[in-house]
Each structure stands twice: as C-alpha cells, then as structure tokens.
C-alpha cells in the first residue's frame, strides 16, 4: 500500500505540473518524458515482469498510431473512437505475435529476434499498402478541437498522456500485487518450475503481451495525435523499440518506478547536455551511449536497483553502528 500511496503522490504532483510550469518548452519536455515512461512501462510489463525481452515493441506502437490515423483520414472515424480502436488493434497484434511465438515455446534471444522481425514486416507492409499512405506516410489534417483529440495547448496533451501513463502505472502496480503478477514473475524466474507448480505459462505470457501491447498502442495513438504525421520509419522503425526497452533498462526492469526513473534520467541527460554543452552535434547521443554502458557495467538492475542497493547499504551500516 505504501507503494500505491507513493504512486498516487507522484502522479498527483505530475497532474499539477502544467499549473506550475508555464513554459511550453518545459511542458513539452516533461510531456515527452512522461510519454517515454509510458513506452517503457508498456515494455516493462512483458520484459521486466514477464522476462520476455521484446525488440519489436514498435509493432504495437505503430499499429496503434496507424489505426487512429487511417480511421480518421481514410474513413472519417472520430479519433476518440480511434483511441480505443488503436489500443485494441495493438492488443490484437500482440495476441497474434504472442500466440505464434509462445505457442512454439520461443524464449530469450529467439523471442527477441522474432519480435524484431514482426516489427520489420509491419514496417515493410506499411511502406507498401496504399491505405497507410505507403512511403509517403499519412498526414492527419490539423483541426484543433477537443472533439477531434487535437488541442491548442500543450497542457491538454500533457493531461492526455498523464492519464494513459497513470493507467499503465496502476496496471503495473496491480501486477506487482496480484495472483497474475505472481504467476508472471514465477514464469520469468523459472518457467519449468512455474509449470510444475500448476502455472500455465502460455496463458500468463499471452495476458502479459496483450497488456503490454495495449499501452504501447495507446502511446502510438498519442504520438499520432500529437505530431499528426506518420510514416513507416516513424511508426514501425527500430527507434521506438529501442526507446521502449532502454528506458526500463536504465531505470530498473521489473520495478514500478523504474521506467519513470529511466525516462527522467535519459531525457534529463539529453536536455542537460544540450543546455550545458551547447550545440555540439550528436553530443546527447554520445552521452546516451555512455550512460547505457555505465548502467550495464555498474548498475545492471537500473536506477531503481541502485537506489535499493544504496539504501540497503546505509541500513546495514546503521545496524552495525548500533
């Protein structure tokens, strides 16, 4: 319950950010950080709690994004309906990928490579079929109104991503405290042992990938409505898959706050490098890489693990002193 209270406190504080931070540039930075945390949390459900490392979360993200864009532009469907449809289509794609991989017992690097391949197949499809605009991409007409899921202010977009992120974080909290979560973590730690104890790994992993796909798809819907333009490389390109897994790896996989910490650290570094070092092309990417190497070397459990290790060391020192 302490964790839930802390989560509530963090998101309550985040809710009021647009009232305190009036600069649109800073609002945008915080918004993009929260969006990265959402992407990371979606991956964390499957990768962190389920132990199934996906290299192709762009498959879910892109499906969500293209669903809302295609429904809107080609069929005139309201984007609020597209928001729901985008999430559901991503769930459907996740179910398909999950069924075809888990059914045949793919694990570890095999699973990672297959997910990467699925995202690539979808990228090529989006690049070919006419209803996605193929290589030209798809442009959502600028028509700012709440009914159209387009807002004039950054604050409104911020609250939209805040709401989706809150749902994702609450889901992950529930996973951490539910029977389903216990089964999922058991599968992650030792699938054969979990099966021996009566857990159905296939069913558990299917639920995890579908939940993961849902939030990744919703992040895609948000992206489409925020930037109003998609092409196959943006929607299904490897950059989204990499960002999805980098955030929880840096922050702490399999932890509730890991993706948030990771997103804050990575975006913070990126912003700070640009502000402090100035306009040196590519410097933020160099720092990105350096941080990742350092994290893997010295904090393999991410920032959340580092915080836990440091507090454990402090506690043991206090105990020794007593």
């Amino acid at each position: 319950m302490r964790q839930l209270a802390l989560l509530g406190l963090v998101f309550a504080a985040l809710f009021f950010v647009p009232f305190v931070v009036t600069s649109e540039a800073w609002q945008n930075t915080i918004l993009m950080t929260l969006y990265a945390a959402l992407l990371g949390q979606a991956w964390n459900i499957l990768g962190g709690y389920g132990g199934q490392f996906s290299f192709g979360h762009a498959a879910f993200f892109g499906t969500g994004a293209y669903t809302v864009a295609v429904l809107q532009v080609q069929l005139g469907v309201n984007p609020w309906i597209g928001l729901v449809a985008g999430g559901l289509m991503a769930v459907a794609v996740a179910a398909f990928i999950g069924f075809t991989t888990f059914r045949y017992g793919l694990r570890g690097s095999y699973f990672a490579l297959v997910t990467l391949a699925f995202a690539e197949v979808l990228r090529i499809l989006a690049n070919t079929v006419p209803f996605t605009g193929a290589g030209v991409g798809i442009l959502i007409p600028l028509d700012q109104s709440a009914a159209n899921l387009q807002f004039a202010s950054k604050a409104s977009y911020y609250w939209l991503v805040w709401a989706i992120a809150l749902a994702a974080f609450l889901t992950v909290w529930w996973i951490g405290h539910s029977r389903f979560g216990a089964r999922l973590m058991a599968v992650r730690d030792n699938e054969d042992a979990a099966r021996a104890l009566g857990v159905d790994p296939f069913a558990v992993k299917m639920r995890a990938i579908m939940l993961s796909g849902l939030f990744s798809g919703l992040a895609g819907v948000f992206y489409a409505q925020y930037f109003l333009y998609l092409d196959p490389a943006i929607a299904y390109g490897p950059a989204i898959s990499v960002e999805s897994l980098l955030v929880p790896i840096v922050g702490g996989m399999g932890t509730l706050f890991g993706p948030l910490l990771g997103a804050v650290a990575l975006h913070g570094v990126s912003e700070a490098s640009r502000a402090l070092i100035g306009d040196l092309p590519g410097i933020s990417l160099v720092l990105y890489g350096t941080i990742l190497i350092l994290m893997v070397l010295f904090a393999p459990r991410g920032l959340a693990g580092l915080v836990r290790r440091l507090s454990a060391r402090r506690n043991s020192r206090e105990t020794t002193n007593v």
Binding site: S23, V136, F227, D231, A239, D279, G282
Partner: protein, 410 residues
C-alpha cells in the same frame, strides 16, 4: 580667489572640460555607441546535423549561416535600423518530434522566425508547431507538396516541390528523348523508401507512360542500403533504356558505382532529385561513375554572377556547393527581404510580407517569384549533366551551359 572647489577629485574646470570633451567626442566620434542599438532579429535554424542525414543537414546550416553573415555585413535589416540577424541553432537529429520540440523552445526563447528542416517529415512537424504561434517558417529543403497544402498561414517554400519537379523531369526527358529521335522506350525507377523517393516515384510512374515511356519496374530500397548488387542485377535483366534513381547521397553513390562495376548499359541514367547526381563531391570522387548522368534537381543559375560569387565564397570556406547550401541561403534571404518590407518583426506582418514576396531570385533558374498558398510558383528545377567532370546545366535552354549528350556512349 582661486577656484579650489573640486568635483569628484577633479578641479571644477578640469571636470567641465573633460565632460565637454567626452560629450563632444561621443557625439562626433562614437555616434553608433550613443545611439540605441536595434534589437537583433532572432532566426531559428533547425536541421539534422547528427544522424544519418547529418551531412545534408550541416550543409543547410552552413548555407543559412553564410546568408546571415552576408546580410549582417551589408548593414543588417535597414528598415529595422540596421538590426542584425542572430542565428539560434538546433539539431533535429533527423526526428520530427525533436524538430517540433526545438521550435517550441526557440519560440519561447524569442525566435522571430524559423528556417528548417532539410527533410519533408521534419518540415511537416516544425512548420505545424510554428503555426501554433503564427511564427514565420520557411522550408529550405523539403520537397513534399503536403508541406504547403495544409493551409498553414506561416509556412513558405521558395524552392520547387516534388510535384513540379516530377512534372518538369518528365517533360524535359520527353524533349531530350524526342530531340534524339525518341530512342528511349522503357524506364526503370529505383527510389528510396521515404516520402521524397516514394512520392516522386509515384508521380513518375503516372506521367512517363503519357510520354510513350513504359515503366518496366519500380524498385524501392531502404535507408540505409549498403549493397545494391541484387537491385543492379534486376536492372541488368530488365534492360531498361533509362534508369531513373531517386535517393539520398550515400545510396545514390553506391547504386551508381555498382552499375558501373556491373557494366550496366543503358541509353541514359536520368535521376530525379538524385542525391549525388548534382553533387561536386560525387563528381570529384567517382568521375567515371558520374560521367554523363543526367539529373533533374535544384540548381543555381550558372549564368548569374551573383550565384557564381556565392559559390566561390562557399568554396573558399571549404564547403561543397550542394543544393542544400544555396537553398538554405535563399530561405534566409527571403526572410530578410520580408522583414525589410514589413519594417517590423511582428509575426503577422512578416507572414503577410512573405505571402506577398516578389523577391528577385535571378541567381536561381526561376521565373518571377509568385507566392501561392506559401509556395513560390516561379521556382523550378533544372536538368544537369556531368560532362568530363563538370556539372553542366543542359535544360532549360536559357540557363544551359552545355548541350545534352543523349544517348550515352556505351
């Protein structure tokens, strides 16, 4: 009685004399210091200076900075009391969302205008973000016609889009082919997969059959692609009379080299917005692969002294004078011209001035500048051909510096 009264350590007479001298010197000797300096005009330059299109993005930035330096050296914006233009630099990293975020930051930091973004996808995002604050936005390089078809009042482009370029390319190809007795009957299009390559290829596929040229195949490739052997083998098997590439610099170079290595024989290689066909770097590094390649692309007016001077100035700085350099230069000039006519940095007024621009662009192979919905209708590409290591303009005739060589010698 002697005057012994002191003022601040000086005798009164000394103080008065020094003060008078200082005032006099100030009025006559340093008028510029005493006059209030007009506030600098802040112009945001957003380009992908890192990432896979970093070379082109850096070229754009250098071109824009050259223009700013020239404008400032010539006395700044006269109607604003000689206000200097101050560049605000940002790297979009080749990502639309970062480009858009940089616009937000720049506008908050007081940017009066934006010049961006090299890629069509980035330009779509940056112009849309700038539209939210009505900030004037000039697209330097970005050929997608969607950029100026969204009805944004703040978005302008002085160079041609791919619709016009493809139409021009087909019409000129037809003229060149007919002049040679119509030997070319078939063509094959090899294009990159993003907006510019796909859009251009779609238009060519539609228009070429109207001119009696059958499109035997269209091959799309990813960015980056590092091995063109299979694509070139397909070209060899189809034996098209014309090969039409539309891709970025690196892929273009690799494709052209592989075609030479595999001894592909065609009547002509006719690029549309070819990433390297009109590049001095390509011609210098791979003269054999580049020889006799024709291109339909952005280019300067080779008969204009102003254009030649700018080329020489860029080369003196160590720059390769690619289209990115002069298109970004032109975009900044267009913004400065609008400021000059508006006499204010008020965004509404500058947008109106840009929309009414009739800027003399005789250093480009363009017709009179005429803005329609943010697009300069006078802008057009030209046909170039590499001949003996020199990039010559071969079409339209009024700008041509050499005769067309077609069909190519085997």
């Amino acid at each position: 009685m002697t005057d012994t009264k002191k003022t601040g350590g000086l005798r009164r007479r000394e103080f008065l004399a020094t003060g008078a001298a200082a005032v006099g010197l100030g009025i006559t000797g340093f008028p510029a210091i005493l006059r209030a300096q007009p506030a600098a005009v802040k112009l945001g330059l957003i380009h992908p200076v890192s990432g896979f299109i970093a070379f082109s993005g850096t070229q754009c930035r250098e071109g824009a900075l050259m223009a700013i330096a020239d404008i400032n050296a010539a006395g700044g914006i006269k109607s604003l009391g000689g206000a200097q233009i101050e560049a605000m630099l940002a790297d979009s990293q080749g990502k639309p969302e970062i480009g858009a975020a940089e616009v937000t930051k720049m506008v908050e930091a007081g940017a009066d205008g934006i010049v961006a973004g090299y890629s069509s996808a980035i330009s779509l995002a940056t112009s849309q973000e700038a539209a939210k604050t009505n900030t004037p936005h000039i697209v330097d390089v970005g050929v997608s016609d969607q950029i100026v078809e969204r009805g944004l009042k703040n978005t302008f482009r002085f160079s041609p889009g791919y619709g016009k370029t493809a139409q021009f390319a087909v019409d000129n190809l037809d003229t060149i082919n007919k002049a040679a007795g119509s030997p070319a009957k078939t063509a094959m299009i090899i294009h990159e997969e993003s907006l510019f390559g796909t859009g251009t290829a779609e238009l060519l596929q539609k228009r070429l059959p109207e001119k009696g040229i059958k499109v035997v195949d269209v091959i799309k490739h990813a960015n980056p692609t590092r091995d063109f052997t299979n694509i070139v083998l397909q070209i060899k098997s189809k034996k098209p009379d014309l090969i039409i590439p539309a891709n970025y610099y690196n892929e273009y170079v690799l494709l052209a080299r592989t075609m030479r290595q595999q001894r592909v024989e065609a009547m002509g290689i006719y690029s549309v917005l070819g990433g390297a066909a009109s590049s001095y770097q390509f011609v210098k590094e791979f003269p054999e692969a580049a020889d006799l390649i024709m291109d339909c692309n952005h280019w300067f007016n080779p008969k204009s002294d102003v254009a030649q001077q700018r080329k020489a100035a860029a080369e003196a700085k160590g720059l390769i004078y690619t289209y990115e350099v002069f298109l970004a230069y032109n975009a900044v000039l267009a913004y400065a011209d609008a400021l000059e006519r508006a006499g204010t940095t008020d965004k509404e007024a500058v947008n109106a001035a840009l929309a009414a621009s009739t800027l003399d662009m005789s250093y480009m192979p363009y017709g009179p500048t005429k803005m329609v919905d943010g697009q300069n209708e006078g802008a057009q590409p030209v046909n170039t051909q590499v001949q003996n290591g020199v990039i010559e303009v071969i079409f339209p005739e009024e700008f041509a510096s050499a005769e067309t060589v077609f069909p190519m010698k085997s």
